[in-house]
């Protein structure tokens, strides 16, 4: 386990008693945790366990039925996300936060060039110099290991792994402090997954990012995260340090999850 850089004793994101119900259907119930700067939290569990619902509530895309999410803004004040105005929320979303979708087509503009995809957030915060935008875009393409010669190609000409790396570059260009990732390696083949995980791990370390990663792949959780939350039927059944939970699971369900991975 690597020591997370930039750890501080003030939480970045606080979830208190979060719940989401759709009529009689309960998607999430009574979820509380805190996330500290520079910390990577994995949310694992099987399909339908409420992971993605939780992620949407944390990133203020879905209003919780009960409970609340607070976030420490850049000025150091912890604020309730539900109390933010829409303009503030959207500004937060494209500056201080990143959101990596499982399907890159949702997170990218497929018809405009890679350079413009990376530059969009910069232009949205008022960058007005083409040369500087392009230079920043190419340095980010380089960082995510995309050939800079392809800066003017549209992402629809990219492979799945390149699209996912481009999506990461697009999110990180404004130097966010918190990144949400929804199954970032889903749909990629194993060797591409390995490269992507390697890249994400080094970026998270370099930039001191905090991240919430939703995954059903325990290998992703083991490689990326410091802490793990295990969900089942909408509730948190086990939480703890990644190696502790994965090597020494307490709950029967977690034991089942861990034992269902084929031995390497």
């Amino acid at each position: 386990m690597i020591e997370a850089p930039g750890m501080s004793d003030q939480p970045l994101l606080v979830a208190e008693g979060l719940a989401k119900t759709y009529g009689r259907l309960v998607a999430c119930r009574d979820i509380s945790f805190t996330l500290y700067p520079g910390e990577v939290l994995a949310i694992v569990g099987e399909s339908g366990s409420g992971k993605s619902t939780l992620l949407q509530m944390l990133s203020a895309q879905l209003a919780p039925s009960a409970g609340r999410v607070s976030y420490r803004m850049r000025d150091g004040v912890l604020r309730d996300l539900a109390a933010l105005g829409e303009a503030e929320r959207r500004f937060l979303f494209r500056t201080d936060w990143g959101y990596v979708h499982q399907d890159p087509a949702q997170g990218l503009r497929m018809a405009v060039s890679a350079g413009a995809n990376v530059g969009e957030r910069l232009m949205a915060v008022g960058w007005n110099n083409y040369g500087r935008i392009r230079q920043t875009a190419s340095s980010w393409l380089d960082r995510v290991e995309i050939d800079v010669a392809r800066i003017d190609d549209a992402p629809r000409t990219y492979s799945g792994g390149m699209r996912q790396r481009l999506q990461i570059a697009r999110n990180l260009v404004t130097e966010p402090r918190l990144v949400f990732m929804d199954e970032p390696t889903g749909g990629l083949d194993v060797s591409v997954q390995a490269r992507l995980l390697d890249l994400m791990r080094s970026l998270v370390n370099e930039l001191g990012l905090a991240a919430v990663v939703v995954t059903h792949d325990l290998a992703v959780a083991r490689l990326l995260s410091h802490r793990v939350i295990v969900m089942k039927e909408g509730r948190v059944i086990e939480t703890g340090l990644t190696d502790q939970v994965l090597d020494d699971p307490r709950e029967p369900y977690t034991q089942l999850l861990v034992s269902s991975i084929l031995p390497p």
């Binding site: 303009a87 959207r90 413009a116 957030r121 232009m123 083409y130």
Partner: protein, 294 residues
């Protein structure tokens, strides 16, 4: 036999009141697209149904109307709209930019500078400047509301990345009164500077899309650009072949089937005025004989 009777300027008074309310709101919020209950007009969409409704709503008996299409007073669209209002409102029509009080236009702004008291009515096909980048109407409205215009620069960025310069040549996006980004209708970007701080009132009507927007007199209109790729007006290589004007927007006219062509002012009134004043271009024939017919 009874001839069909129309209300003054075709539309009924209730409809005109509704359109005027939309126009007043549009003037109060420069560049903001005001929805209105666009009516069926006796012409197909795309022929200026929006512009015609705006003109009908503001026209008074003493107004003098000029209609231009691509700068020209004598194309089908311009002539039929002029005749339409001569018939339904009995107003005086003209081809002179000077004399007109209301000018309905498609795709051009007259070369002669406009004066206070004049109204320029644009026919608009697609009022939403963000349309081709963001297909969702709910999302574009929200972007306007929150002044999130980064996406507009993405379009200009793409132009430079692909062509080396901002290649958008018409419908070039502008920011009105330092707030709303607006599509100036498909006028060439050559005309964009004329909109800035213009003494005349500028009204935009989109009939199919049911939107009206406006630029009040003396309002700032800034074309979007990058610091290192500033907005430039299109420059022509040669002057007008008929009147020799070097400062006007030119049309390319194919003169035979062997590839010969000439470049002439698209604003016919401006070109005729200059020829009448004795200016001659390289291909000007006998002193000007033809004039627009009503």
């Amino acid at each position: 036999m009874n001839a069909p009777t129309y209300n003054f300027a075709y539309l009924d008074e209730q409809t005109k009141r509704m359109i005027r309310r939309a126009i007043l709101k549009a003037i109060a919020i420069p560049g903001y697209q005001v929805p209105f209950a666009s009516r069926e007009m006796p012409m197909p969409y795309g022929w200026g149904t929006g512009g015609v409704q705006v003109t009908a709503a503001i026209l008074g008996p003493t107004d003098v109307l000029k209609v231009i299409d691509q700068g020209s007073d004598d194309t089908t669209n311009a002539i039929s709209i002029r005749k339409f209002f001569a018939k339904t409102a009995g107003v005086t029509t003209t081809t002179s930019t000077e004399v007109a009080t209301v000018i309905q236009t498609r795709h051009r702004i007259p070369e002669a500078s406009l004066r206070a008291g004049q109204v320029l009515v644009y026919q608009v096909p697609i009022p939403e400047p963000l349309r081709y980048l963001e297909p969702r109407e709910t999302e574009t409205r929200r972007m306007h509301a929150l002044a999130e215009y980064g996406l507009m620069h993405v379009k200009l960025y793409e132009d430079i990345a692909r062509f080396g310069h901002i290649a958008t040549a018409y419908a070039y996006p502008v920011k009105v009164n330092a707030r709303y980004v607006m599509d100036p209708s498909p006028t060439p970007k050559f005309d964009n500077p004329k909109m800035d701080n213009c003494p005349a009132l500028q009204l935009f009507g989109a009939g199919r899309e049911k939107r009206i927007y406006a630029i009040p007199p003396y309002t700032s209109v800034v074309s979007l650009d990058f610091e290192d790729h500033p907005f430039t007006r299109y420059k022509f290589d040669a002057p007008c072949a008929l009147c020799g004007a070097a400062d006007s927007y030119l049309d390319e006219i194919v003169t035979d089937d062997k590839g010969s062509r000439m470049f002439v002012c698209s604003d016919t009134d401006y070109c005729e005025g200059r020829q009448a004043a004795g200016h001659r271009g390289s291909q000007a024939a006998a002193p000007h004989k033809e004039a627009a017919h009503d």
